[in-house]
Amino acid sequence: MSSAADIVERLKAGERAAVARLISWAENGDPRFGGALGALFERVGRGRRTGITGPPGAGKSTLTNEFTGLSRAAGRTVGILAVDPSSPFSGGALLGDRIRMEERTSDSGVFIRSMASRGSHGGLARAAIDACDVMDAFGFEELLVETVGVGQAEFDVMEAVDTVVVVLCPGAGDGIQAMKAGLLEVADVLVVNKADVAGAERLLTDLEDAVSLRRRAEGAWEPPVVACAAGRGEGVTGVWEAVERHRAWLAVDGHLEARRARLRLAQVRGAVAEGLDGRLWRSGGLDERARALLAAGETPYDVAAELLSAVSAGSVEPEEVSGS
């Protein structure tokens, strides 16, 4: 069992297993994580964070792999976080994104970590930010976060990044679907993948129309719509250039600082919410009170109101979570 100081030293010494272990701590809500990240925090902030999201089958892993190839060709190291949903039934997960990026396993300039969503509210976004911070602290220059855009939890993962690339393709979830799913709202770059397939042209036009119709504040970023066929390596450079343009936009007028502030706030909220959740519920105190009140015939909302006011008044003294 290693201490936070230990793992920090190992990470600073360039040991990749330390990166992996720290990410596990972040995922598991291990109380040692906060201290470790604190000791590394001055090293965080140099990596450029790009998210890749979209419906299943749109080609996210392939695009992520292509981005990795471009970055490596430019001599930049890459840290990848691949997020997949957990099974709502068993809580387990099958994480197979690495298969698409297999040739990167033997490249010491690339680090890939698979993360299951674990179905928690807000916790996933916090863990994704933490994982990026760890990879960033290690010194990976390009941080790529890939996640399927299906549910709110996966969606929130995009809090972790500076630039969000939304990948769509003809057939698998059309433009209308994407708009309904709110994907357009988060997109900084819109990609029509599989541009060689029938229907791509139409999707491209639909997306361009949707973007131009959206009301935007003065000076706000207008997401470009770019086509590619990532499976054949065609047009990927164009997509990456669009990402670079967004970064250039971020670099001026404090845009990046605003994003990062939002990210840090999300991290704090996540940590606080999880901490409170654990303290209030897992230590058992509130649970028992709620049961008792319900058994006494009170309605759920009356019980909730009562507990909330008790918490605000400080009359709930949650036990310390053991070990923290």
Binding site: G57, S61, L94, G96, D97, I99, R100, E102
Partner: protein
């Protein structure tokens, strides 16, 4: 007679049966096929909609439901073809001679994984695998040793290889030429079914499109120069072993077969010039009647497709001729002698289903390569069916059985639905790229495993009638001499030292040029074989020129 007057009064026996069944107490068991489909307790005339002339025909007659030969096994028994190969070419050559001496009538070569994947025995990735599950053949020199003393103009040889199949055929052709045998005289079958590799077995060399081009080049070359060679053995075996149901095995295999035909036609070949050299390879599993029905359905579907959809006019193009192997996955490591019995039932189903050749598995194959003794028992199993059961005297003896005909029709209907599904997803290659087959097979495999573990499907020695395992290995295990790898590596080093490097370079350049252009690739491989280019060097050129295929993510 007069006392039995009740017999003339019409009685609704079906209704009476129904009442009796409703009242009967049934065993606690799941009455389903091996694939989990519900079965009726009995089948009758109402369950079969059959026009015997249209749907069955007679043996050797369209649509061949009853068999591809008029005389069936009265003319010639099925070929007893035991798959063999291990260690070095020299060791396998000895096993071949042993089998031929014991009455086996055809050879069947199993290759080791490095050969199957197109790597030379001295490649780092081959470490530990050389000669392990089959024979290592790295060049023409190894092929010459493998066939040493075996007259290549007389024997029929089946080679189970796919990704680099064209290269191994080139070695075989070159070895025959060195024996003074013209390619027109060689007989045998190459598995060469690359589509099912992507779907189930996973030993491919390059991406699907260039792989299919190698196959059409071979079909063109063989129809001109080696007309007795069966170019593709379209294989359901591996699909089934990977976990599919009987219905999926049937449908996926025939869909692949139709894809090869489409490719041949698109390459400008006359369908009747190559279709007669296509053959099939199926699994024979333990669900006795479903398997027999599967074989019958395969013949009927193929005949109808070839005649009506592809316009073939040569009856040989309509015939689904097939090899069968008993189901390796049905064998258990527990109480391994029981496997002899399982294999016997499966072999009998294959014979009742009208197979052209048969491999019976040995009882010890879940543990390691079979020993000589267990291989002999497996072969004897076939001989007992042939000589003692009197089964081979009558063609398609189960035709007209309500149950078997109903199963045959059900499997045909399921196959048609699957063909439509594949079509709606863009065809066989797009389905491979999207992982459709792989996902379907995985689902079936998983469902079966759950059924066994839940006790719904019973397996003797696994979830019923289990015994404490005796200490130590229950049966003798065949071991590969670990020095095989060294021997192969040394052989290759010697070959590289004595060959003409300039000739090798020229031959590989010609292969590269053919990849980029339209020269027949098999022709170039034969030239490269004669120059003693090793398999790995030729494969490397193909990988460079054609790119590789990444397994789709299906989990």
């Amino acid at each position: 007679m007069s006392a039995n007057t009740d017999a003339v009064t019409p009685v609704d026996t079906r209704a009476l049966w129904g009442e009796a069944m409703a009242a009967a107490r049934l065993r606690e068991a799941s009455f389903t096929t091996l694939s989990g489909d519900e079965l009726q307790a009995v089948y009758g005339p109402a369950d079969v909609e059959l026009d015997s002339e249209r749907d069955l025909g007679w043996p050797g007659q369209f649509p061949f439901t009853r068999g591809v030969h008029a005389s069936m096994y009265r003319g010639r028994l099925w070929t007893m073809r035991q798959f063999a190969g291990f260690g070095t070419a020299r060791q396998t050559n000895e096993r071949f001679k042993f089998l031929l001496d014991h009455g086996q009538t055809g050879l069947s070569v199993a290759f080791d994984f490095p050969t199957l994947m197109g790597y030379d025995s001295d490649d780092a990735i081959a470490a530990g695998e050389v000669g392990q599950v089959g024979v290592a053949i790295a060049s023409l020199a190894d092929m010459e040793t493998l066939m040493d003393g075996i007259p290549m103009g007389e024997v029929s040889t089946s080679m189970t290889i796919n990704g680099p199949a064209s290269i191994l055929l080139a070695f075989y052709i070159a070895a025959a030429q060195k024996q003074g045998v013209d390619p027109s005289a060689i007989r045998g079958t190459l598995q060469n079914d690359i589509l099912k590799e992507y779907q189930a077995q996973h030993a491919w060399l390059v991406a699907p499109e260039p792989a299919l081009r190698m196959i059409t080049d071979m079909m063109a070359w063989c129809s001109a120069h080696a007309p007795q060679w069966n170019t593709i053995s379209i294989s359901g075996y591996h699909i089934r072993e990977a976990g599919s149901t009987a219905a999926q095995e049937l449908a996926f295999t025939l869909a692949n077969g139709m894809e090869y035909v489409r490719r041949g036609v698109a390459a400008g070949l006359d369908v009747d010039a190559f279709a007669p050299r296509l053959s099939f390879f199926f699994d024979s599993h333990l669900d006795f009647f479903e398997e027999i029905a599967k074989f019958r359905a395969a013949r009927r579907i193929w005949a109808r497709k070839m005649r009506y959809e592809f316009g073939a006019s040569d009856p040989r193009s309509w015939m689904c001729r097939f090899h069968t192997q008993t189901a390796g996955v049905s064998l258990t490591a527990q109480q391994p002698e029981n496997n002899i019995v399982r294999t016997a039932f499966e072999a009998l189903a294959a014979v009742l289903g009208g197979t052209q050749s048969l491999h019976t598995n040995s009882m010890d194959e879940t543990l390691a390569l079979p020993t000589e003794k267990s291989v002999k028992i497996a072969l004897r199993t076939q001989q007992i069916i042939a000589e003692e059961t009197e089964v081979p005297h009558v063609a398609d003896p189960l035709a007209g059985s309500y149950f078997v005909e109903a199963q045959t029709a059900r499997l045909e209907a399921e196959a048609e639905a699957t063909f439509a599904e594949i079509e709606s997803r863009g065809g066989v290659v797009p389905c491979i790229e999207a992982g459709y087959f792989q996902r379907e097979i995985h689902r079936s495999a998983y469902a079966y495993q759950r059924a066994v573990e839940a006790g719904e499907k019973r397996v003797v020695g696994i979830n019923c009638y289990t015994e404490e395992e005796p200490d130590g290995p229950p049966i003798e295990v065949h071991r590969i001499d670990p020095r095989v790898g060294e021997e192969q590596t040394d052989g290759l080093a010697a070959l590289r030292a004595r060959r003409d490097d300039a000739a090798v370079g020229r031959a590989l350049d010609a292969v590269r040029e053919a990849c980029r252009g339209t020269d027949n690739l098999l022709e170039r491989f034969v030239q490269a074989a004669h120059a003693y280019c090793p398999l790995g060097e030729i494969s490397a050129v193909l990988r460079e020129e054609f790119g590789h295929f990444k397994e789709p993510q299906i989990l």
